[in-house]
Amino acid sequence: MASDDLIRLSAAELGAAIAAGETSSVDATRAYLDRIDAVEPDINAFLHVGRDSALEQARTADRRRADGEDLGPLAGVPIAHKDVFCTKDMPTTAASKILEGWQPPYDATVTARLRDAGLVILGKTNMDEFAMGSSTENSAYGATRNPWDTARVPGGSSGGSSAAVAAFEAPLATGTDTGGSIRQPAAVTGLVGAKPTYGGSSRYGVIAFASSLDTPGPFARTVLDAALLHEAFSGHDPRDSTSVDAPVPGVVEAARRADVQGLRVGVVKEFGGEGYQPGVTQRFQESVELLESLGAKVVEVSCPSFTSALAAYYLIAPSEASSNLARFDAMRYGLRVGDDGTRSAEEVMSLTRAKGFGPEVKRRIILGTYALSSGYYDAYYGSAQQVRTLIKRDFDAAFEHVDVLVSPTTPTTAFPIGERADDPMAMYLADLCTIPTNLAGNAALSVPCGLAPEDGLPVGLQIMAPALADDRTYRAGAAVEAALAERWGGPLLGTSAYAV
């Protein structure tokens, strides 16, 4: 099979082709490595490409297959990991200078499970430093560009993963979603991205940002591919004390089922109107009409506390981050600055952290320290935790009447690089619609729903479901995907500047 044909295949198709002996993991991996070489100068999606190790893993996958080992549907399929997942054979930096060149002594559970399933690691993708941001401009190693328009951001924080999959540099990628860091980049690059139920995917070996919110999840070009990846790394992990000990929701079956007949869909009243780009609103409304035409029962639902979710998030997430990032103390690993024999450990620590952390990370550490300080704790952190309760109650009340909730994934299409870099509050607004799901811990998915007429850039439809009902988001997402592909005469990504 020719290189372009190989990288055009979905992950499900590629896995099946490898299993049927129509191609090999080595050929597919080589095709993707060549594609990376060709487009990386434009896109900058990767912080590290492991050419030799990828080919070695591909040879192993082919050998395991030839030996008759019972491997999963993605065996031999290449993948890119966000640089927040520990990989014992590759550097892991979280796009920070404080971890430059650091190689972890162990794998994250997600990484290890995907290795066992025979997936081949192409490399590590760029991100906002410590996953703090919505544009990938906060990387210490340069911005990543959106394959739809290289003057624009690919979203964030998992923007290297979204750009890599959208530019056909990888068929699949992992990300983490703390406030929207998978769904928002998926939406602005025309991909499928899912935030699993909190605790449904293991945080072991994932560099922590805000531990009560961080959720690893999949990026893919199709709903079925995202479901296959979701299923491959999910399930209880004794090494993560917040991992849910429950069966993995049947996401693959739901993606194959792809029907919404009788599904009760609630449109979140609070997410729309002023501040939303007209083309985003238009494509969202069309998706709601589409769901209705496919047999769903659509009603409007009010979730009044959702309008306070962004404010609560920007107290809770920085508070947890200020505590989590205390571990970067220049003692056991990572950068150390100013250790000249005259300075104390505390001075070395302060100098190292000032040099190793970028501006957004410092801003959030200071903000979190403020919100947790004596005298302000109740007013800020305490109030934010109460708002979190109200958001959970809004979800619970809504899910008594509907099976899923829908909204635009993010209020605008991809914005130009640099546009929001000096305005933290404008940047934070990108996560307006995705944050409630993180605060409540339930499941959500973003699926492409068209291009905004005014700029020709992708728009995402967000589908939210109760905790451990991830399958509903895949079922509805696959139905929308199938109906739109029929309407468009092919997948949305087929019209991108970097389509193959």
Binding site: Q103, G199, S344, P359, Y370, G382, A384, Q386, V387, L390
Partner: protein, 99 residues
């Protein structure tokens, strides 16, 4: 709420072990003020005796069986260390001369 002063930011930076430059303190004081006034709306919403939620899952005290399992060897544990001496992490002085 009163505006956040530069001195307050300097205090927070000391608590956070961040040796910030003068220009960083100025910039952060202004930005923090903007962010705090935007997020302060949580105080208006969170009236009354609403219980706080610290975590999405109702999990408490999750234990695993107390079974021995292999840990990292010294070489792996020290592989990323900024400085090593006698198979230990070498760190700058922790106690002052007078201590």
């Amino acid at each position: 709420m009163s505006a956040i002063t530069r001195d307050e930011v300097a205090h927070l930076a000391r608590l956070s072990r961040l040796a910030l430059r003068e220009d960083e303190l100025d910039q952060l004081a202004a930005q923090l003020d903007d962010i705090i006034s935007a997020v302060a709306q949580v105080q208006e919403v969170a009236q009354g005796d609403i219980p706080p939620t610290s975590h999405a899952l109702p999990l408490t005290n999750v234990y695993r069986p107390d079974e021995a399992r292999p840990g990292l060897g010294p070489d792996a544990a020290l592989a990323g260390a900024p400085a090593v001496q006698d198979q230990r992490f070498r760190v700058p002085q922790i106690l002052g001369e007078e201590d």
